[in-house]
Symmetry: C2
Subunit: 307 residues, 2 copies
C-alpha cells in the first residue's frame, strides 16, 4: 500500500504533541498554514515576531490567535535567533521560516551558539506523492546542496533515511540517478553512483539499499524495469529515495513535476538538530501544511533515535 | 495558438513527398510506424534490410509491403551503410534506425564516406506537447551530447533553431536552464547561461532570443514569471527551446515528464545532412510517427536553407 500525506498527517496526530517555532511569524500564508496544522492536531506553535502585526494579520484572517504563544520581537534577525534558540534548548521540536530572507533564516539555523548544527552536512528532501507512481518518493537534493561530492552524497543519504523511517518506510531503496543505468567511465556521475552502491554493499552506508546508476524510468516505473530486463538489479522501479547528481538536475525535475502534474508534496531541511521547514512563497497552502506534518513525524523519529 | 503534432503532420502532408530511408528495417514496431506515416501521407520509404524477414513481418501484421521499395541487404552493418548512403546521395531525405545497436547505427551516421556529417556537432532535440503548457517545447539535449561545453551549447542552439522554424516558430526563445535564475558565480551552469545570453545580445548567436539562466518554472509558466516579478527578462514563461545543463539533467526531466504526464512527443538527431530518427524500443507508436513527421518538416527546412 502506498503511503500518502494523509498517513503522515494521521501519524503526527497520534504522537505526543510537537511544538513548532516560527521565525518572524508576521506572514499571512505562514499563519494560515500553522493555524491549519494546529486545527488538524499536527502540532502546537510558538510565534516569534512582531506581536502587533501578527495579531493584526490573524484578526484579518479570522484566526483565533489566543491558541498560540507569541513572543514579541520586532527585530527580524533577533526574532530568528530567539525562535531558533527555542529549538536549540529543546523547548520546540521544529523550526519554520516566516517573513525573512532565506539567507538570514539559514544564518539562524547555522548560528554557532543557538543554532541547529549537528556537525554533519545539511540537505533538503522533498517528499512527493505522484499519481501513477506506486510509492512515495523522496527527492534529494533539489534545493539546498549545489554540487555534492561523493562524501556529501553519503551524508545526504544518511540524512534522508530517518525521514523515510518517520514515514513508515524501513530500509529504503536509494537510487543514485543518472541519464543511463550503466557505469560509463566518461560520466563521473555514473562512477560515483556505482561507488555509492559498493559502499552500501561493503556496509559503509547502512539502513538502506543503494543501487545506481539508474535512469529515472528504471527507478520509479516497475513496467519499464521489466521491459528493459534489468534482472539482478536491486531496484526494479521501486525506489524510495531519488538521489540527484546535482542541484540543477534535481531542481529541474522537481519543477517539471510540480508544473506539469497534480502532486502532493512536502519538504524539509535535514541534518539539523530538529527538522527545518523552509517553504517558499510559491509553495501552495497544502505543501506548507504537508511540510509541517512531515517535520512533526521526523522530529519524533529524531527524538526516538536520541533517547 | 499552440502548435501541436497535428499541425506538424498537416504541414508534412502539404510538402513535396519526402523519402525515409530505414536501416535494418526488419523490426515490427518500425514497420508499423513507417506504414502509418505512409498512410497519413507524411512520407514515402525505402526499407533496407533482410527482404525475406521484412516481408514476413509485414505479412504477419497485414501491412501491404508493395507500397515500399525494398533493398535486400541481410548484413546489418552493410544495410546501415546502404541506407545512410541513400540520404548522403540525396535519394532519401531522412534516416531512421531499425533493428540494430545504437552504436552501429551512429557509426553509419558518422561514416566519413557515406554518412551525414556536416562538420558541425550533432545534437538531439525532443519536441514536447505537454497539457497545461501553452507552447510546444523543444528539449535539448536529453539523449546524445553528455557534457556540452559553452561552444557545444552554442552549436546545440544553432542546430535546434531550424527545427523550431520547421514547426512554424520563427525567432524562438531559448532558455538555458539552471536551478536558479540569477548568475551565481559558484555555479558554472549559471555563468555559461549568462554568457550565452550575452553572445546573443552581441549578435554572435542569431535567429533566436536567448535569456538565461532561468529556472524551469520561469521558463515555461507565465503565471510563475508574473508571481516572481521578473520584469525586464526577455522570457516570461514563454520559452520555446529548453537548453539543459547536461545529459543527466535533461534526461531525468525528459523521463520525469514522460512517466508522470500524458504527453505527445517526437525526437530527432540534428546537425546532420538530413534529420535522423533514433527512437528507442520503449518509445510509443505515436512517438515514432510524430518523430517521422517532425523529420519530414525539418528535412524540408534544411532543403530550403540549402537551395
Amino acid at each position: 500500500m502506498k503511503i500518502t500525506f494523509n498517513d503522515i498527517v494521521a501519524k503526527s496526530q497520534t504522537l505526543s504533541k510537537k511544538v513548532l517555532s516560527v521565525a518572524v511569524a508576521q506572514d499571512e500564508a505562514v499563519i494560515e498554514a500553522v493555524a491549519e496544522a494546529k486545527k488538524k492536531g499536527i502540532c502546537d506553535a510558538i510565534l516569534v515576531g512582531d506581536e502587533a502585526k501578527i495579531k493584526e494579520i490573524a484578526a484579518g484572517m479570522g484566526v483565533d490567535i489566543s491558541q498560540f504563544e507569541i513572543i514579541n520581537e520586532p527585530d527580524v534577525i533577533q526574532a530568528s535567533l530567539t525562535a531558533v534558540k527555542l529549538c536549540h534548548d529543546g523547548k520546540a521540536d521544529m523550526y519554520m521560516k516566516g517573513l525573512l530572507e532565506t539567507k538570514d533564516f539559514l544564518r539562524s539555523v547555522l548560528d554557532k551558539e543557538v543554532g541547529l548544527r549537528t556537525g554533519g552536512v545539511l540537505s533538503h528532501v522533498c517528499v512527493f506523492d505522484i499519481p501513477g507512481v506506486e510509492k512515495l518518493l523522496f527527492f534529494t537534493d533539489v534545493a539546498f546542496m549545489t554540487y555534492p561530492t561523493l562524501e556529501d552524497k553519503v551524508n545526504i543519504i544518511k540524512n534522508t533515511i530517518p525521514v523515510c523511517n518517520a514515514c513508515g518506510i524501513e530500509n529504503p531503496k536509494v537510487a543514485p540517478l543518472a541519464a543511463v543505468e550503466v557505469v560509463n567511465p566518461k560520466m563521473p556521475v555514473c562512477v560515483e553512483a556505482d561507488e555509492l552502491t559498493k559502499m552500501n554493499e561493503r556496509g559503509e552506508i547502512t539502513g538502506c539499499i543503494v543501487d545506481g546508476p539508474l535512469s529515472l524510468d528504471l527507478a520509479i516505473d516497475p513496467e519499464a524495469a521489466k521491459h528493459k530486463h534489468i534482472e539482478g538489479r536491486k531496484i526494479q522501479g521501486d525506489a524510495d529515495i531519488l538521489l540527484f547528481p546535482d542541484i540543477h538536475a534535481g531542481n529541474l525535475v522537481y519543477k517539471a513535476i510540480v508544473h506539469t502534474t497534480k502532486v502532493e508534496n512536502g519538504c524539509i531541511l535535514t541534518g539539523t538538530k530538529v527538522p527545518v521547514i523552509l517553504t517558499s512563497r510559491s509553495d501552495t497552502f497544502e505543501t506548507k501544511v504537508n511540510s509541517i506534518a512531515l517535520a512533526a513525524v521526523v522530529a519524533h523519529e529524531i527524538k526516538k533515535a536520541n533517547a
